[in-house]
Symmetry: C3
Subunit: 330 residues, 3 copies
């Protein structure tokens, strides 16, 4: 299921500088350490640079600065990781499922399904749901009433799309993700919580990827919005009425409280906690495990959290902080 390509062909197709024999052929990708003859590797993280000396790859994608250090053929590009992504997609193309609906899937008569769709075993497509061209619904997925899925989107296994949510084109949604569960909205009544109906929906743009077991809640009134090109890792929680701007990427386990508005092209690390009703500007970087409790109005890099030290030292830090908590010093 993978192709074989000459280095010359790859250099031409992707506009790369080749230093080495154009007739050499590669048929798979490999890490520098585990490469063998016929492998293409890459160097994108300088901490692995020493591995260039000993790699058995047939060729390595490198930045210009690293081209000299390599004992094997190199394909040179200012962004070797991007070139790698493209070549890897060529060598290991995604296997497209054949169109067709498995007989064990339960498709409501009121669903509108393009002829080119693939529906795997034991999926459920409810009334009024719409699946665009070449949509692939994996095994055990549930697409509820009126949910719409754009062309070429792929749902892995056991994905839930709740009633009325809209998913764009070319999205990938991984197993266990839940799009459109009720937001967490309750009004207090003398110590008892009264549920606030969550009548909004979720709108996901095109080219969005949503990780395994990530949850994106439907809006309370207006919709929760994830714009084009956003990439969400696994186990992220997106509260009701959040907006995530186009091309923002968020790492795993991050939680975003209701009505937060996140800008475009942000990069947010793992396990970041973002409070509700705040705004994060475009082009903001937030490092992992930060706690964002106020708006961030300017592009730049932001952090919080106490890095790990020996438990004994940590106890002293904590004691120090407690003293400052007990009364105002100075």
């Amino acid at each position: 299921m993978q192709g074989e390509f000459s280095l010359g062909e790859l250099a031409v197709r992707f506009g790369l500088e080749l230093r080495g024999e154009p007739e050499l052929r590669v048929s798979r990708v490999a890490t520098l350490v585990h490469a063998s003859e016929g492998s293409l590797s890459f160097l994108a993280n300088s901490r692995y640079r020493r591995q260039l000396d000993t790699t058995r790859a047939t060729a390595v994608l490198v930045a210009p600065a690293d081209a000299e250090s390599c004992s094997v053929a190199v394909l040179v590009d200012p962004n070797p990781y991007l070139a790698y992504a493209r070549i890897a997609s060529l060598i290991h193309p995604e296997v497209r499922a054949a169109p067709g609906i498995h007989p064990s899937a339960v498709i409501s008569r009121g669903a509108r399904i393009a002829a080119t769709v693939t529906v795997d075993p034991l999926a459920v497509i409810e009334d009024g749901a719409e699946l665009g061209d070449r949509v692939h619904v994996g095994p055990g997925c549930v697409v509820q009433r009126g949910a719409r899925v754009g062309a070429d989107t792929r749902l892995a296994a056991r994905v839930t799309l709740s009633a009325g949510v809209r998913i764009g084109e070319r999205c990938i949604i991984h197993s266990g993700a839940v799009v459109g569960a009720d937001g967490f909205g309750f009004a207090a009544n003398a110590g008892i919580w009264v549920k606030v109906p969550q009548v909004g929906s979720v709108r996901i743009g095109d080219d969005v990827e949503i990780g395994a077991n990530t949850t994106i809640d439907r809006g309370a009134i207006d919709d929760t919005v994830v714009e084009h090109g956003v990439k969400l890792d696994n186990q992220i929680q997106v509260g009701h009425n959040v907006t995530i701007g186009a091309h923002t990427a968020i790492a795993g386990c991050t939680g975003i409280s209701g009505s937060a508005t996140i800008g475009r092209r942000c990069m947010i690390g793992g396990m970041v906690g973002i409070a509700g009703h705040l705004t994060i500007a475009d082009d903001v970087v937030i490092t992992g495990c930060s706690l964002v409790s106020a708006s961030i109005n300017q592009a730049g890099s932001y952090s919080s959290g106490m890095p790990t030290v020996q438990t004994r030292a940590w106890r002293r830090m904590v004691a120090h902080l407690r003293r400052f908590g007990e009364k105002e010093h100075r």
Copy 2:
């Protein structure tokens, strides 16, 4: 699927003061910003107060202090959010599924199922499971041996209730939630972990809501207990033998370690970590991303965590703390 009501009718039904024409009619809810003619809106968070000036809502629910500022009709109540919750439930009532068992569901002969139950496609109900009146089991749910579900409870899609767990009445459990997986219990034997059988169960009270992909483990010996009226957001982890007191609300991504006891009417923010074998008193508020490593014996508001600053400033904070960790300063 939504009703239309006059302001006069709403004022009478919910005991609200009306300032405006009683004949005006509303047929949907909307945010202040997106409201149009026929919409009912509300103001419950002062940060949105300026939106009263420009809203096109037909009427707005407000607190007495805000009644003057509004250019359109107002319905006045000391708790406008609660009034909104009730009116929104009236205008947008939940659609109740028709009773019946989809032929693709797999129902064990030993299950006891009320005649008024709805079971959606591809659900599994195992031996000895009991479903009370008007229970709704969504598509792809699994109700395992001997699990019991009280009247009027609704399981969304792909919920797992493990063997023997008990769910009260009028609960809502969202997609992907898992109630009753084994607790995390292992005894050390010379560097090898030996599994401790988890023979307890889970008891969930009435009127509990459990968010998408939240997990509540079964007890090691005694049961894990979630009392009446508790509201759990998405992706919360509740360890074995935890007790959560009645009417406590917990936001998303919070983790509660084994044998913690949480009081009644607590409000716990998102991504809070709660250590095991501790007690939290009634009426405690814990802000988001806090780390609770010791019991909290008194009602009040508690916090921890370092709010996010520019990464450069954060590095200096961390260096400062490290110095205090290295030796005891005075």
Copy 3:
């Protein structure tokens, strides 16, 4: 479904010292507080020691130091929790499902399934998947193309094993877990993210337990590896190309970023955030809610995080830290 045993029999079988009548019989386990006649209890955590005075258990497993304090029969062992784990497994043995494939399961013709396997309702086993002897696939599970599952492994309900992953023998994987979703890999191209194909797989050793809704991503090129005897709690996120060393135990909600290497016999608390491309030595203990942003090269106990205090005191701590962030103090 549980056996009854005399204390004498238990003492002999497990090599325990018995102080009490050997003819006394126990038929269930119980906590000290809730024990009644016929119950076996244990004391492993000194904070519960006072409960020895009033317990109604027929017998209690204790360490030698506690043997005197107990008013009822005692079985004495230096590691009473381990002895408890073994006796509890004897008294409450796991019920093994009868072999057989439920007719509603969808088994591809190209799957290789041992005759002794149990496949529950509505499971999906795709082409090329292999299930070893006595494997139990729970209801609603999905085993995708070419995934292999070793003998005596049990998948609870709604587990996803993605294409090509390998699971060892005697593993337990709890409901909602996803093994083998794509890692989070994207190359930047002028503000747009280009997907990097995730062509590696996941290898899980023998005797591994994986908690509910935990996610373990497939490798980008090489495999993600979880070695023998590892125990993972619920809602853990394991990024691509992580290695977790044998017999390490990790508590719930912890997130491990890509290419982190974790040693053997580590104990990692809940909600710990571990950055990518770092190494943690063998025998490291990390307390809950720590942020690990650099390698840990030596065995020992490590911590971070600010324990919770009253919100008012916390505000002062934060103000203090901010001052140190603003400029370098001396």
